[in-house]
Subunit: 148 residues, 2 copies
C-alpha cells in the first residue's frame, strides 16, 4: 500500500558505464554530491518470496526488504539504478528503505566528486555501512566481487 | 558479453508518479518527445531462466529476451524505468532489445506531450506495437491491467 501523498520520483544525476573491471557496469556520479545528500530515490517492486526462490542471477540484486523495514514483506527489487550499484567494503552511499512510499533512498556517506563510482555495502546492517566481514556473500554462497 | 565499445547510459527525461488508478505508479514524460526519439536506454540484467521459475510478482516485469533478440538467453529484467512502464493497447512507446550493449531502447511511436503517461505494449511482436489481442496476458495467466 503506497502512501496517499503526492510523491514524484525523478531520475538521479548519475550515469552507467562499463567499469573496465571484470565486475562489468557501474554507476557514476554526473556531478558532485555533498555528504548526506540524497543521490537517488529508487521505486521498488515488492516480492513476498523466499530468497532461495529467486533465480541465482537475481539473488545479488534482491534487497532484504523485511529486514530493512521490519515489515512482513520479504524482498524487493529496486528499479531506477538501485540494482546497478556495485559492492564496496568502503562504500560512498548508504541506503534506507521507506515502506510508505515503496522506495529505497541512496544517500551520500561523504562528499563525492564528479565521475566517482557510486557503491553500496551489500550487507549494510545496524547502521554500519563499512565493514570487512562477508556475511552476506557467505550466507548466500555468492562469490564476492568488490570494487575496493 | 557486453560490446567492447564505450557506451554511457544516462537516465531518461521522465518522472514516476502515482497514476491515481488501481494500477499504481506510472512513468510520465518530463518534456515533449518527437516521434522516433529515444526516450530511454535501460540497462538489463540477463536471466537464462524459464518463465515459470520467476516469482509470480516478477512475471509481469520480465522481458522475453530470447524472443526479442533471437538469442539463447531467455529473459531479462530492465533496470532504469524499463520495468515501470504500464501496458496500453495503444502505447506511445515501442522497444527494441540490443544484445551488443545489453540494453532495451524505448522509442516514441508518435509525438508525446509533456506529462503524458508513457506506455508500452507488453505483447509487442513482429513490429506491431498496437493490437487488442491479449495473448501475453492469457498465456501467462496474468490479469490484464490497461491504462487505455
Amino acid at each position: 500500500m503506497i502512501a496517499d501523498v503526492l510523491i514524484i520520483i525523478k531520475p538521479p544525476l548519475i550515469y552507467i558505464e562499463d567499469s573496465g573491471e571484470e565486475i562489468g557496469r557501474g554507476v557514476y556520479s554526473t556531478h558532485g554530491f555533498f555528504k548526506d545528500e540524497i543521490v537517488e530515490v529508487a521505486p521498488v517492486s515488492l516480492l513476498d518470496v523466499n530468497f532461495e526462490m529467486f533465480p541465482k542471477e537475481l539473488q545479488t540484486r534482491v534487497y532484504n526488504w523485511g529486514f530493512l523495514t521490519k515489515s512482513n514483506i520479504k524482498h524487493a527489487i529496486a528499479m531506477g539504478y538501485g540494482s546497478m550499484y556495485n559492492h564496496s567494503d568502503y562504500p560512498n552511499l548508504r541506503y534506507e528503505a521507506d515502506t510508505n512510499f515503496e522506495v529505497i533512498r541512496y544517500i551520500a556517506l561523504r562528499n563525492i566528486a564528479p565521475n566517482e563510482q557510486l557503491t553500496i555495502h551489500y550487507d549494510q546492517y545496524d547502521g554500519i555501512h563499512e565493514h570487512l566481514e562477508d556475511h552476506w556473500f557467505n550466507r548466500n554462497k555468492i562469490q564476492k566481487r568488490d570494487i575496493g
